[in-house]
Assembly symmetry: D2
Homo-oligomer: 255 residues x 4
């Protein structure tokens, strides 16, 4: 079976873990990795990550000229870099290259640029691309529909240095129409990687949906899940939540 | 708005709590309650449960003669009694009375009798009729579909005297194709009313779906949910899981 | 072995559960129960609670005259009533009757009256008299001593109607020198009876001490534990935390 | 203040993390690290771990001759290597160097050699040297003493590849006189680093003591805690549980 050719943007702390997950997955062939700086230029990401093979040649952002995507064709671009990266790969959409972005914060112009690309190719955008969190996001909406009178609160726990309220918790609060200033409880202790709990209280029973992050490689798994799903999809805009809610809608259950 | 007239079978420990939930809900009018014995014959269940109104006249099983359902018409029968009760209300199906059974164990003959009634009226059968447990049953199947490589184990906790493995845990194991002799962990301590946890382990994240029972009135809430849903449905066989999976299939999500 | 004779104040919602626990325990003989009103005057608490024996004759507060304690001698008084009750039993201290109070809020005068009685008899005062909560209170202080750099937060969950912050959570916060306005997270959902969790976060590990209330009979068990301990103790003031910390200090460990 | 000079045995997966914790702590000066192989001989462990200073010169086991400890004096040796290491540092005891071993499995001869050293110097041996686990071990014994009728079960969760039952869970079971074949529930899912929960069930309340490992650096923190405590102690045999139980015995509580 032909492998799926992947180009990647971002080789920072999270980016490296994501690249590593794609390199380990036999379905994918990581052609290149674009990073901001000239560090380790033209080396192989695979070697830097301890693998005994050549995969993922490192390019700098400045290397991306007119014909980069013609000379270095891929099926999908996966972006864990930052708001600027979209400028470097918007030409890729003209080549029909599919796009996955997990960038958490976009400048308005960059965000609009990304959104515009949906008219040319399949674009999937999800700031938190982990499977588990997106499952929670959808499942909690269902539970609220089944039990509309339930009281709902969110508990999110992270390492002591994390100052702001979890963006994921805010997103869940929004999806459930909860007042995020009252219903999100933020715990900041020690080295907790990340834990989100949604508590549904009914008079005679309590339901808890809990997601615990072990490490940031979970983003890589989510991106792989998204990439497999996006292959073969027509142009348009997609998100992880949408993938998962479609699976929910089409499922057959045992009972 | 016209109230939904309800007849109930079962006035034991759980039955009383369920009858009480229906009496408290303004949508329903509990016409009568059938119990096995002659205790408190012709008294009102509502009075026995501390309400200041007359609702739910108590009948004995032996009172149910030929024309009981003509003289004492209801829209729905709710059965929390035992395997025998179906024999007392099978005539009700001919009157178009809808049926909800939450009986946990049926003798084969009684079970077949119940199943046969689906050709005459709408029958809903769910041994564990709580909202939360049925949500877990469906949501866990979805998560398994999204993350087929996840390792799954079930932890069920109950009071020390409960000897057998939780039937609910077994049902979840079956729905998830888990080996129930290996993947169900039964904790028996103190007075725990009932706690079920399904753990999904992925390499970099863990998801937990947890249901905690506070008391057995949760069965009443589940039956009320089922009763509201069953009104207006055509004849046929239904279950709680089916209701919930339909809601899942028809939902619109925010993302 | 001679039973311990007990007199009880309080026959409200919690009081009844506590009286019931003492009646069930073969070590104790509940001589009488004093309640505020004249309801069920001279009936037996045991009968009202469904037991097939006569124990705990019901008196009204107004029955307690000069010679009540001489005519109705007991070894210990257990008080789950309210701030006023101490006025009715202060004469008991002169008879050497030991006192256990679990009253949550005292008026200043009543509190001082209770405290003064320690010069005449053994007085144990603990507003939250459950074993589990007092264990958490002591164990969390130890953990803080062992791991002084740990970040600590408290999560307390209760039923939706509970408006104020849990007094128990406040007490734990005070014992751990935590800012109660910042480190207590209050969840109010459904029918949760009561759940307290103390989270200790270290850079590479997290420790959680969790107490879950199943029902208010836990207060009765705590009072029984306290009563057994108080027998044979000299006059003075005691508390549940003190009992437990002494056990901690005197324990021999397996390692 | 003079730093505490430390020599370390073990530079494998866990050993590196432990060495790193000691290097980061300003109280300690890591003089040398002994590893099995000749890899990175005479380099500095600090550099290999990304620090901008020279600390912890790497030696091979074969470098340890007659006068090694005279030429390379330290206050404490910390051993995260294996059963053999004790043979290399038994001469150190003659120099009065204190010893900390966290080796999980010893051959009988090596174990006896370690035990014999207590007659010459202060020896602390704890196979699981994390603070949190040792706290659980002691606190659970106390809770059992306070609530002897509680039902107790242990839940231990680890990554899917871990085959045997957790040694820590077995140790807790032994300390609590639990039948380890019945009361330990082992969950094996995904990438869980390590989670131990001790559930105490009483009729009306449940208490849970939970320890969650985030990563193996927790061993380093435990060893640092042990090392600080061992300085100034006379010769003899010590353990983490013993340190913690002494702290329990000497504590003053707020109540």
């Amino acid at each position: 079976m032909k492998k799926v050719a992947v180009g990647m943007f971002g080789f920072g702390r999270t980016g490296k873990l994501v690249v590593n997950e794609f390199i380990k997955d036999p379905i994918f062939d990581v052609k290149w990795v674009v990073r901001r700086t000239k560090n380790e230029h033209h080396k192989y990401a695979s070697r830097l990550l301890g693998h005994e093979k050549d995969e993922g040649e490192i390019f700098s952002r400045n290397d991306i000229g007119e014909d980069f995507y013609k000379k270095n064709p891929v099926d999908i671009i996966v972006d864990f870099a930052g708001t600027h990266a979209v400028r470097s790969y918007k030409a890729a959409a003209d080549e029909g290259i599919k796009l996955i972005s997990a960038v958490s914060k976009y400048d308005t112009d960059d965000y609009e640029m990304l959104m515009a690309l949906k008219r040319k190719t399949a674009v999937l955008y999800s700031p938190n691309i982990t499977l588990g969190i997106n499952f929670l996001l959808i499942a909690s909406q269902l539970l609220r529909k089944i039990a509309p009178h339930a009281d709902i609160e969110i508990i999110e726990e992270h390492f002591r240095e994390k100052e702001e309220i979890s963006g994921t918790a805010k997103k869940i609060a929004k999806a459930l129409s909860l007042d995020e200033t009252k219903k999100i409880n933020s715990i900041r202790v020690g080295g907790v990687v990340g834990r989100h709990e949604i508590v549904f209280g009914l008079p005679n029973q309590t339901i808890r949906l809990v997601h615990e992050s072990i490490n940031r490689s979970a983003f890589g798994q989510g991106a792989i899940f998204a990439a497999k799903w996006l292959i073969g999809k027509p142009k348009g805009l997609y998100s992880m939540e949408q993938i998962i809610s479609r699976i929910f809608a089409e499922a057959n259950y045992v009972y």
